[in-house]
């Protein structure tokens, strides 16, 4: 994999690697993708994708409001300002 392509991947997933990590992880990634390529030999033309290992029957919820019982506990995990959650600059 070209450095350019690898760097693009890192940027997409917002991952920064230090120098040591960079070469070792890039090596591993290349080796593992090569290994993944072994799937090409399996014939799958007439197969559909198995999104789940079993059949998941449909399950939906009724449109009835239900208040979460501990909203302060959610907000305690964040920094808040006048009931807003504080986030980074745009």
């Amino acid at each position: 994999m070209e450095d350019k392509e690898f760097n693009r991947l890192l940027k997409i997933c917002r991952i920064k690697l230090n120098e040591n990590e960079y070469s070792s992880i890039k090596n591993d990634v290349e080796e593992i993708i090569n290994y993944f390529d072994s799937l090409k030999s399996v014939k799958t033309d007439e197969t559909t994708e198995a999104f789940h290992p079993i059949l998941i029957p449909e399950k939906t919820a009724e449109d009835i409001p239900e208040e979460f019982d501990d909203i302060p506990a959610i907000l305690k995990n964040t920094k808040t300002y006048r009931f807003y959650v504080v986030g980074p600059e745009l």
């Binding site: 999104f51 939906t60 006048r82 959650v85 504080v86 986030g87 745009l90």
Partner: protein, 431 residues
């Protein structure tokens, strides 16, 4: 010129798309739970009402649907997106290949998809403030083919779409959000995140002019994403956003595949085609009917109820009188007003208020006969000979006379107009 549109509209459900927090809240972060804030460990469960409404919208837009649908994760990083992915639809949307008719023109709908809204974000100096009340609310995204060819078509399309959505209970008072793509040449330019009908049209106008100018000056148009600046009323080049390559859509396996073939869609109402039908049936101006019913279910209900008993023109006049002066909007009041108008009288604000408060209205309205009207017209003409001369060429002056007399006698202006016409023609004969 080709214009395509992606419109986002909120669905009229009580709860959010994947959790049971209320859709209607005011104070920041009061309608939140682990799911819509993306807390680790939370899971989504689909709102069946959102599914039904989205399906109904896609059917109202004449879309075809596959038997089953599913949801995918669209990954991108932005502070308003709690999971850093949006649950949306890519491969298997709720509807596709539909259309909206604008008179004889057909605007094709490419797809209708159901997805979750991100949180509301306020930009501050050095930080942002986030309100998750909006996070997870159900949206439909409606994507058109680039079939819109003029600014007027764009305006009509948006109004027609909003009317269809209005009749499916979508709150169209809330500003719709849209992305535009406009191409005057082979190159497509996207304008993202425009809020409100006016801004959408202004942005389109600006972008059309901008591209025309470039073409005239032989400057190549760039394929790019732009944003609309409301204050400057201009589109501005924005840095390239992520594409499908980066979003890396995958099936959301916290959810499953949903069978939509058995959902009974809510019956759509097309106000524009109903206005056309009524117009043809009763000979009333189509746009007057459309104006009354395009965004008004009550009015449509009144018309449907009374069209066999009263003149459509009188029903429409009564509706507009009640809207102007009334506080009630019920069938009984309306029928009283219609009856008065049918008798040839024209109630004013005081009369409407009297009717609403249940007073015997006949006391307040003088019974006017044609002789009385004629008398008034004559005295008006006698008092101002010039007026009569002017009236031959000046329609405004004529209307002024009619208005004044109708007001004074509390009669239907049409009646005055009829009398005036016959009197004037006899005057002319005498001369």
């Amino acid at each position: 010129m080709k214009i395509g549109l992606e419109v986002h509209a909120g669905l009229p459900t009580k709860t959010k798309l994947f959790c049971r927090c209320t859709n209607h809240s005011k104070e920041p972060n009061t309608a939140i739970c682990p799911t819509c804030t993306g807390m680790p460990g939370s899971k989504p469960v689909l709102n069946n009402s959102a599914l039904k409404i989205a399906f109904s919208i896609s059917k109202a837009l004449n879309c075809s649907s596959s038997k089953t649908i599913y949801f995918e994760r669209k990954v991108y990083f932005y502070p308003d997106l709690p999971k850093s992915f949006q649950i949306t639809q890519k491969e298997c949307p709720i509807g596709s290949n539909g259309f909206i008719l604008l008179g004889d023109k057909k605007i094709r709908i490419r797809r209708v998809q159901l997805e979750e809204d991100p949180a509301k974000i306020l930009r501050e100096d050095g930080y942002t403030l986030i309100d998750y009340n909006r996070s997870g609310r159900p949206l439909v995204e409606i994507v058109t083919e680039p079939d819109i060819q003029t600014e007027e078509d764009l305006r009509m399309f948006i109004t027609e779409l909003k009317s269809i959505l209005y009749y499916l209970d979508v709150d169209v008072e809330q500003e719709i959000k849209a992305d535009l793509n406009i191409s005057l040449s082979e190159i497509r330019v996207e304008v993202k995140n425009i809020t409100g009908t006016k801004n959408i049209i202004d942005a389109a106008r600006y972008e059309i002019q901008r591209q025309e100018k470039l073409i005239n000056e032989n400057i190549p148009i760039e394929k790019e994403t732009r944003s609309y600046n409301e204050a400057k009323m201009a589109t501005i080049s924005s840095r390239e956003k992520e594409s499908d390559e980066e979003y890396g859509f995958i099936f959301d396996s916290d959810l499953t595949v949903y069978d939509i073939s058995k959902i009974k869609a809510i019956k759509p109402i097309y106000a524009s085609s109903m206005a056309k039908e009524y117009s043809q049936k009763y000979g009333v101006n189509e746009s007057q009917i459309l104006e009354a019913i395009q965004f008004n279910k009550n009015s449509l209900g009144f018309i449907e109820r009374f069209e066999k008993n009263y003149k459509l023109k009188n029903i429409l006049n009564s509706i507009s009188l009640l809207q102007r002066y009334g506080s009630k909007n019920d069938v009984e009041t309306l029928e009283k007003v219609i009856k008065i108008i049918e008798q040839g009288h024209y109630p004013d604000q005081k009369d409407i208020q009297a009717i609403e408060s249940g007073k015997e209205i006949t006391i307040n309205i003088k019974v006017a006969n044609t002789q009385e009207i004629d008398k008034e017209i004559r005295s008006m003409i006698d008092g101002n000979k010039n007026l009569l001369k002017e009236s031959a060429t000046n329609k405004k002056a004529l209307n002024f006379i009619i208005g004044n007399i109708a007001k004074k006698l509390k009669v239907n202006p049409r009646l005055v107009s009829e009398r005036l016409e016959s009197l004037l023609s006899s005057e002319h004969k005498v001369q």
